[in-house]
């Protein structure tokens, strides 16, 4: 059940400014009224886009066709809804570059083969300025070398080692790997007293 190996993501970038952009904003709760993730792409940031009246980064023509979303800090905080990365993925994004990410959001990204790469605040500022100056440039996130390359130069990125390996090995869809340990799962369950309603403990 191995998936494709993800070594890099390349493409044009979109600059979305703001700290603490939560998953309710990425996909409002009314779009969680569904039993499939299909079709969520068009609703990404719907309320923010309406509020911005055409001035939202996702509606900025300069960023049309962007594959990489450059954000600031704590992007994707809040609700665990996987609908958020699903909506962004279906909108066309394959990687996120930012100062920091909500933990559940970044885990959900990994589970879908999307990259979350962290840069220092200074580098995010430089990258944003560079993309705004030349939105046509190609940005590359390299998982292997943990770098982000753009006209602003090559920047050192942070990707947790376990996640980096999952992407590089193609084991980001974790089920197959987890299933491999079938006997060990049973053994762990046997050792946990509460799983066995505390019958097997002897004081």
């Amino acid at each position: 059940m191995s998936e494709r190996k993800i070594g890099t993501a390349s493409g044009r970038a979109c600059v979305l400014r703001g700290n603490d952009i939560d998953t309710d904003r990425i996909i409002p709760a009314r779009y969680l009224m569904c039993v499939t993730f299909e079709g969520l792409g068009e609703f990404a940031f719907e309320d923010d886009r309406k509020e911005a009246k055409g001035n939202h980064a996702l509606d900025d023509e300069r960023f049309n066709g962007a594959k990489i979303l450059v954000v600031e800090s704590n992007f994707g905080c809040g609700s665990s809804r996987e609908h958020a990365p699903q909506a962004l993925m279906r909108h066309g994004f394959t990687a996120f570059i930012g100062v920091s990410f909500g933990e559940i959001f970044s885990g959900n990204c990994t589970a879908n083969g999307l990259i979350c790469a962290r840069l220092s605040p200074e580098d995010v500022t430089k990258l944003m300025e560079s993309v705004e100056l030349d939105p046509t440039q190609e940005i590359t996130v390299d998982v292997e070398s943990k770098t982000v390359s753009s006209k602003a130069g090559t920047m050192k990125a942070e990707i947790p080692e376990g996640v980096r390996n999952q992407l590089l090995e193609g084991t980001w869809h974790a089920t197959g790997v987890l299933l491999d340990a079938s006997a060990q799962i049973e053994a762990t369950a046997r050792q946990l007293p509460y799983v066995n309603t505390f019958v097997e403990i002897s004081d």
């Binding site: 309710d24 509020e51 933990e103 559940i104 589970a111 089920t175 987890l178 799962i185 509460y194």
Partner: protein, 467 residues
Amino acid sequence: MAGKNLFNKVWDAHSVRELPNGQTQLFIGLHLIHEVTSPQAFEMLREMGLSVRFPSRTFATVDHIIPTDDQKRPFADPIAEEMMIHLENNCREAGIALFDTSSGRQGIVHVIGPELGLTQPGMTLACGDSHTSSHGAYGSIAFGIGTSQVRDVLATQTLAMGRLKVRKVDVAGKLGRGVYAKDVTLDIIRRTGAKGGVGFAYEYAGSVVESFSMEERLTLCNMSIEGGARVGYVNPDEITYNDLKGKAYAPSGAAFGRALSWWNNVKSDSDAEYDDIVEIQGSEIEPTVTWGINPGQAVGINQPIPRTSDLPDAERAGHQEAVAFMDVRTGEPIAGTKIDVAFIGSCTNSRISDLREAARIAQTGHVASHVRALVVPGSQAVQKQAELEGLPEIFQSAGFEWREPGCSMCLAMNTDRLKGREICASSSNRNFKGRQGSPTGRTLLMSPAMVAAAAIRGNVVDVREVI
């Protein structure tokens, strides 16, 4: 050698193996599911030709989409009904116990787990909901997961995870009158910021936490994620054990005694090491209210909303956005802000002690004429207990609506929603833009007692003036 904290003990006991990528394959002792984040996971399992590995270790309920006015089937909203049917079919096919409205045990997933004694010390617990951290109140390691991870737990009862760092949050001394667990969590988030806890599990400790009831501990752990921490927990003690005695799924008889020795063993050692320690004086915490668009944007009831110019450069843009959206005046206190709606409910504050405290204040007056106020119990058990105590009559005669159990206006996936620019005094956990169902609606988070007081005065008020 230094001792171990509870997080690391529980983590190690549940470690199936170290994965080649360096992560841990972690056994999940209890898995809770609901109708919103599970249907896609079951579909993924079907596509992979897999079945549920340990169906007896997963329990389901319906909470997010359920109406709170009329819960008769079929639900008025056809999509809500469709989601309910998916949950029923998935649970039936997999052999998973479902607590629906006919069970007498339905309710918000983070209310019913503890209520039924499913949540126990020393467990790992996962649910496709970020407020799963609530269950840490019992000394479990509990965290929210996405739908792909729900799939992994269904298929294998395990997850691939990286170990978290542990921060001890010590709340010393005593709380003042009119200061509640909700104020403690809002104060912690205000101090550490909405992202201050990313990468950490929080161990809540100190005399304030030790003296908290289980319901207060649930409120405290519930909002860990609002400060960025995926996990929050309290070491189990006599209060925990007394609470568990006699609950439906808690061990009983001789097994309870054997459970006690296991539970006592998972507590943090007195010389345990932590990656970080934060100390807060309980006496310094005031009734706390959020004024902005993330839960870290909060102030003590009598403190001024910060001015943009007082903040570091990096925070100014976000601050200005919040001030503009909320239309609040900086440099002035939040007290006195006129409200349109009052909501008492949610996985943070919908338990019986919350409702008792709110009812005590509701008794002192009547909901202001311009305010729409609703009380939504967290579960059918809370509802029943409240009825036994006559709370619905108190609320109703004071002008509050008394509803059926569910998540309701915390995230507005049913018809309980703000309209337009309404401002809501809310006992829930998130003040994000649009969270309560109107894209332009505004939320002020506070304790249930503060919500009740605001409902009666018609504006935000220091609850200490009322009790």
